[in-house]
């Protein structure tokens, strides 16, 4: 039967080529949409490694360029914040705190391996604020400040990229006066948004300049308390300014940057695919109405309604298969050439979902006209001109 269908399709290759081309383009569009969606879903479903609920990002402008003054001011702030029972924990941090629009990154190398890592400078109380859990080692403490070699925490991704399967703890990176030693490893740390893949990140003890901080407050803390604390901080120094943002709002903003374009892409693609479906539907209706005599003959010589139905669905499925094979040739290049540095598995899932979607779409479009064809009365079909 397949050979029979193939012969019919081959004879009408010119008209079928257009349909095949339409399926090929649809396949590539769906492949892109599914790959992107799956990639983001997969990242989204992984834990963020931090608890952003009831955490404020406090941005303080000390109105000075002096690092020594900033150190004094920071202590002032620390002392003040300790007086509030609503505050559970707080930590100063470089401005590239989670869900902020700042970034500080660099290439880090170790014995020929290089990774591009985000570098954060934070207080030792940072994990208490974000409720971060280490999978290996320990967090750095105030006592580590006296060491010549800076203790650092790395993400699992950074560990794998720099040290492979080796134990990262105790490993020293950097040269001469700028050495850092890994003291802890954190499995998950999504600091950009919920759709961020596992990334390289290095967390080190606070340097001289940061004046931003993260504050964990007790659940149920009111806006009045927020205003009270903000006011109290402003009054600590001359011409200071304080801005408090909620980390969950910051996260929502960063997430929006990712999912809104995906949603727009999804809507545009849905519209395109809907048009393709309408086109297919029309073409199939026209094809079937042109082939009514053939349907009559087939019915006369022994085809059941089911045979007719599956004949037309089958023909469409064969054309679809050719369109998909053509599309596969291009789609498969993505994992083979490691385009966009995504895991091959993500592309494979994208391909599989695109194939399923195309078949569902095409068969859904073919089913109704084919059903109509199968219902044509043989005596009537044979007399169609």
């Amino acid at each position: 039967m397949f050979k029979h269908l193939f012969k019919l399709i081959w004879k009408k290759k010119k008209s079928n080529f257009l349909m095949m081309l339409e399926i090929f383009v649809s396949f590539l569009i769906l492949f892109a949409v599914w790959t992107l969606s799956f990639y983001n879903y997969r990242n989204y479903s992984k834990p963020s490694g931090i608890d952003h609920e009831n955490v404020w990002a406090v941005f303080i402008d000390f109105n000075t360029d002096s690092d020594s003054l900033k150190n004094i001011y920071r202590d002032l702030v620390r002392q003040k914040l300790k007086t509030y029972p609503e505050i559970e924990a707080f930590a100063f941090s470089s401005s590239n705190m989670p869900y902020s629009f700042s970034s500080s990154n660099n290439n880090i190398s170790y014995k020929g391996n290089t990774t591009h890592a985000e570098i954060m400078s934070v207080d030792p109380s940072y994990p208490d604020v974000l409720k971060m859990k280490l999978t290996e080692g320990r967090w750095f403490t105030e006592g580590d400040k006296v060491n010549k070699i800076k203790p650092i925490i790395v993400t699992r991704r950074m560990k794998e990229e720099l040290f492979g399967n080796e134990n990262a703890l105790g490993k020293i990176i950097g040269e001469k006066d700028d050495k850092r030693q890994v003291v802890g490893v954190v499995s998950h740390f999504k600091f950009e948004n919920d759709f961020q893949p596992e990334s390289s990140c290095m967390i080190e003890p606070l340097g001289g300049w940061p004046s931003d901080m993260l504050v964990r407050i007790k659940p149920g803390t009111t806006v009045e308390t927020e205003m009270k604390i903000s006011k109290a901080l402003v009054q600590l120094g001359k011409d200071w300014s304080v801005e408090i943002q909620h980390l969950d709002n910051m996260k929502a903003n960063k997430n929006r940057i990712i999912w809104v374009p995906i949603l727009i892409l999804f809507i545009v693609c849905s519209f395109l695919i809907f048009n393709v479906a309408l086109g297919l539907f029309g073409v199939l209706f026209q094809t079937i109405s042109r082939r009514k005599q053939e349907i009559g003959v087939r019915r006369a010589i022994g085809a059941t309604k089911g045979h007719i139905l599956w004949h037309f669905v089958g023909e469409t499925a064969v054309i679809t298969t050719f369109g998909i094979i053509l599309g596969l040739f291009f789609a498969i290049q993505f994992p083979l050439l490691n385009v966009f540095d995504l895991e091959a598995f993500v592309y494979i899932v994208g391909i599989v979902l695109a194939i399923i979607s195309i078949y569902v779409l095409v068969i859904a479009c073919a089913l109704f006209p084919s059903k109509q064809a199968s219902e044509i009365y043989p005596a009537v079909a044979l007399h169609e001109e």
């Binding site: 039967m1 050979k3 029979h4 012969k7 019919l8 004879k11 009408k12 005599q293 053939e294 009559g296 003959v297 087939r298 019915r299 006369a300 010589i301 022994g302 085809a303 059941t304 309604k305 089911g306 045979h307 009365y377 043989p378 005596a379 044979l382 007399h383």
Partner: protein, 221 residues
């Protein structure tokens, strides 16, 4: 072989009712070559369609091979047509996108026969109608007479007991028509195939065993 009892066919629209066949009682014996004649629109093709189980009568009973065809499912009707009946049409009704051999193989496609068996039977059928040298041609590359011979090959490939031919010589000149008629006579005489043929041509009808005439849906002879 085929027995029609009180067959009536009425075509109904919302405003009009047309009686296409009225009280047709006809019996076609095994190995008989019967022709049906009558003016255009008298119901010849309707009668043939009903005999070929392509259409249902509004009233009456059809018996084929002592089996009463009523309440048959679509599947059973299709199986019955595939096994017992062969059709030849005035305008051949070949599938232009398939080569001759594939056109002839078509009825076997709806049976559980292997590809090699199909090819063998189709080749034999084409040999029988003298077209074994045109197997790979497409219908559009053939003359009218050749097309009708392909249609005959398609009708006989499944070795049916009954062939129903709707004006098989209607689109052909007399020489071609005679050639086709000779093939049908041979099938009837040599293979014992029962043939029911609708025709307008008195000369062709004379070559058959029996003639039935219809007028305004009624059997007059």
């Amino acid at each position: 072989m085929i027995k029609l009892k009180n067959i009536e066919k009425v075509y109904r629209t919302s405003t009009i009712e047309t009686l296409a066949l009225n009280e047709i009682n006809l019996e076609v014996g095994k190995g008989e070559f019967l022709s049906i004649m009558g003016p255009s629109g008298c119901g010849k093709s309707t009668l043939l369609n009903i005999m070929g189980l392509l259409d249902e009568p509004s009233k009456g009973e059809i018996t084929v091979d002592n089996e009463t065809i009523s309440g048959f499912s679509d599947k059973k009707l299709a199986h019955f047509r595939n096994q017992k009946l062969g059709f030849i049409f005035q305008s051949y009704h070949l599938i232009n996108d398939l080569p001759v051999l594939d056109n002839v193989e078509l009825p076997l496609l709806y049976r559980s026969s292997s590809a090699s068996e199909r090819t063998q039977l189709a080749t034999e059928a084409l040999q029988k109608v003298g077209l074994s040298n045109r197997m790979k041609h497409y219908p559009t590359q053939l003359s009218g007479g050749q097309k009708q011979r392909v249609a005959i090959a398609r009708a006989i490939v499944g070795r049916p007991e009954i062939i129903l031919a709707d004006e098989p010589t209607g689109n052909l000149d007399s020489a071609m028509g005679n050639e086709i008629m000779d093939i049908l006579i041979n099938l009837n005489k040599n293979d014992g195939t029962t043939i029911v043929m609708v025709t307008h041509d008195e000369n062709m009808a004379k070559k058959t065993n029996r003639l039935v005439r219809l007028f305004d849906g009624t059997q007059v002879m």
